[in-house]
């Protein structure tokens, strides 16, 4: 436990003291701001329209503005987390600091969990930045917290998966470029596994792939529902990737 916190603490301290994090956060904010602004425009137009038509049901800010924002955040996080997760293992290998971790009285599991925790906090800090956008609306208007909170829980879970996948990619290689590319491809693959259900002839397999469909799990959160199956699905992806990473770290001692 102590090892986990010491390693995570060091990584986080270095992350938040480096320009890298602020560069990434700044660029993400740039993309989010543009699209958020467009979303607000659409919402204003739609509301005006429904007001003119005298309809009781106005446009929902959650679906017109927030959902769009959240899916963009998700897209950007695939890239941002892939870039940030190089730090977890690839940089340690490049800087030849891995021997220090491997010869310290900490287990491979502690190293892996420490790294995962650091990655998670770093990525969630970015998600936190993105939460400022819907929060700023609150200053001007009332809206229903429920679906927003559910969406953000989904976002936290899915970025957790990206972190675990990025961590796994980064422990495989000493090359930063390869680490980022692998992480991106694994993350994109995660999204496409679900699409296999359409191609599968076997009904059982189609069902299996349906359960592995990240998109449908994530959409469930955006719609405002927290399904236990989805939570468990995301946690399993993180668990699997963390387990694989632990095996790779441990294998450093055996090769």
């Amino acid at each position: 436990m102590r090892g986990i916190l010491v390693i995570a603490g060091k990584d986080l301290r270095n992350l938040f003291m480096s320009p890298l994090f602020y560069g990434i956060a700044g660029l993400c904010a740039l993309a989010w701001t543009l699209v958020y602004f467009l979303g607000l425009e659409d919402f204003a137009r739609a509301s005006a329209m429904s007001a003119m038509q005298g309809g009781q049901e106005g446009a929902s800010i959650h679906f017109v503005v927030f959902a769009r924002h959240i899916s963009l955040v998700n897209l950007v996080m695939i890239f941002a987390v892939s870039a940030m997760s190089i730090r977890l293992f690839t940089e340690e290998k490049r800087g030849q600091t891995m021997p220090l971790l491997l010869t310290s009285p900490v287990t491979s599991t502690e190293i892996t969990l420490g790294k995962f925790l650091a990655g998670l906090v770093g990525a969630w800090a970015l998600v936190g930045v993105s939460f400022l956008y819907p929060l700023s609306i609150r200053v001007f208007a009332e809206f229903d917290w429920g679906p927003l909170i559910a969406s953000y829980i989904g976002l936290l879970l899915i970025t957790g998966c990206y972190v675990a996948i990025g961590m796994f990619a980064s422990c495989l290689t000493e090359s930063s470029v390869l680490s980022v590319v692998m992480s991106l491809i694994f993350n994109v693959l995660l999204w496409f596994i679900g699409a296999m259900s359409d191609a599968s002839q076997e009904p059982t397999m189609a069902k299996v792939f349906e359960h592995l469909n990240v998109g449908s799990h994530f959409v469930g959160f955006i719609k405002g529902g927290i399904s236990m199956a989805s939570v468990i699905f995301f946690l399993s992806v993180m668990g699997l990737m963390a387990f694989l990473t632990q095996r790779v770290v441990e294998s450093n001692r055996w090769r």
Partner: protein, 322 residues
């Protein structure tokens, strides 16, 4: 544990990287408080052995124990007792010296309230006070190497494993590191590797010479020097070198080779003749009217021992280029 025990016990270590055999059965013991020099040419298997002892690499065969704990059965217990400086100091460029050392101390399990004092001690011992708040990436190679040494010391481990501790340091820093290691002698058990000979002469009580993955000699410095006593090198300076002089020198009992050098001869005497043989060499030179100007017995130093051991080993390799 009242009696001095074997702090490090290595037996029959082998390591292969695919078809390449890096270690062929290395065995040795190091007593508590001893300073052992691990000597060998580049690629002899020094670093590999050290990596195995520190638990960052698994052997293909054999066992290693530190303070009675098997490196692979109780890795955490072993690692608590070891400070390791790898070939490249494992430093984070984007941390400053102080926070880096505090991180290592915590990682090594130094309890919260002792972290500060341990960091202070390590900084003081390695003389890093003037750069304590600088980022490590901005430090020179010599300072980084010292940060590496400080890192190994910071948890006050019983065993220090230093892989080429003086590489990259300037002569003054080399002298400082050597005196630091001499100071640490006794309270810590130290294994240090190097391919620089004067270094072991200056620091170590015992020397293990490895070559091509095997231990070719293991003894104290005196022991190794004595071992070479069977062979003597005498340098002669003469006024009139000639073929006759050379023949006369060769005729002396025990002389193995006579080499012509600039203004004289280098005579190698084998066997137990010792000083009597030197006397005869002098007589032969005078008798041949060579005009003997100088006769000097060459001290056998570690370098000769080392070269002899490592090259004769090479000759034994079948098909090797001798």
């Amino acid at each position: 544990m009242a009696t001095p025990v074997d702090m490090i016990e290595v037996s029959g270590l082998t390591k292969s990287y695919g078809p390449i055999h890096a270690l062929h059965g290395i065995s040795f013991r190091v007593k508590k408080g001893e300073v052992v020099g691990f000597l060998g040419p580049n690629g002899a298997g020094k670093s590999t052995t050290m990596k195995i002892i520190t638990g960052s690499m698994a052997p293909s065969g054999g066992t290693a124990k530190v303070a009675g704990f098997d490196v692979f059965e109780d890795p955490v217990e072993v690692k608590k007792r070891i400070g390791y400086l790898p070939e490249n100091p494992p430093v984070y460029g984007d941390m400053n010296v102080e926070s880096y050392l505090a991180f290592v101390a915590k990682l090594k399990g130094v309890s919260g309230e002792r972290v500060r004092s341990q960091v202070e001690k390590a900084i003081e011992k390695t003389d890093l006070g003037s750069v304590r708040r600088r980022l490590i990436q901005n430090l020179s190679k010599g300072y980084r190497q010292r940060v590496g040494i400080a890192q190994a010391l910071v948890s006050d481990p019983e065993v220090l494993i230093l892989d080429e501790p003086t590489s990259g340091l300037d002569p003054r820093q080399v002298a400082e590191v050597r005196s630091l290691i001499r100071e640490l002698r006794g309270e810590h058990t130290i294994i240090l590797s190097t391919h620089i000979l004067p270094e072991v002469q200056a620091m170590c009580e015992r020397i293990i010479i490895v070559n091509r993955g095997r231990i070719v000699a293991e003894d104290s410095l005196d022991g190794l020097t004595n071992r070479m006593a069977g062979s003597l090198e005498v340098k002669l300076k003469v006024a009139r070198p000639s073929a006759a002089v050379e023949t006369a020198l060769r005729a002396v009992a025990g002389v193995a080779t006579v080499l012509k050098t600039d203004g004289g001869y280098s005579v190698n005497i084998q066997g137990t003749g010792g000083e009597a043989a030197i006397e005869q060499v002098a007589e032969a030179a005078v008798g041949a009217r060579a005009g003997l100007l100088e006769l000097r017995k060459e001290a056998v130093d570690l370098e000769d021992i080392f070269l002899k051991l490592t090259t004769s080993e090479e000759n034994q390799v079948p098909g090797g280029v001798a």
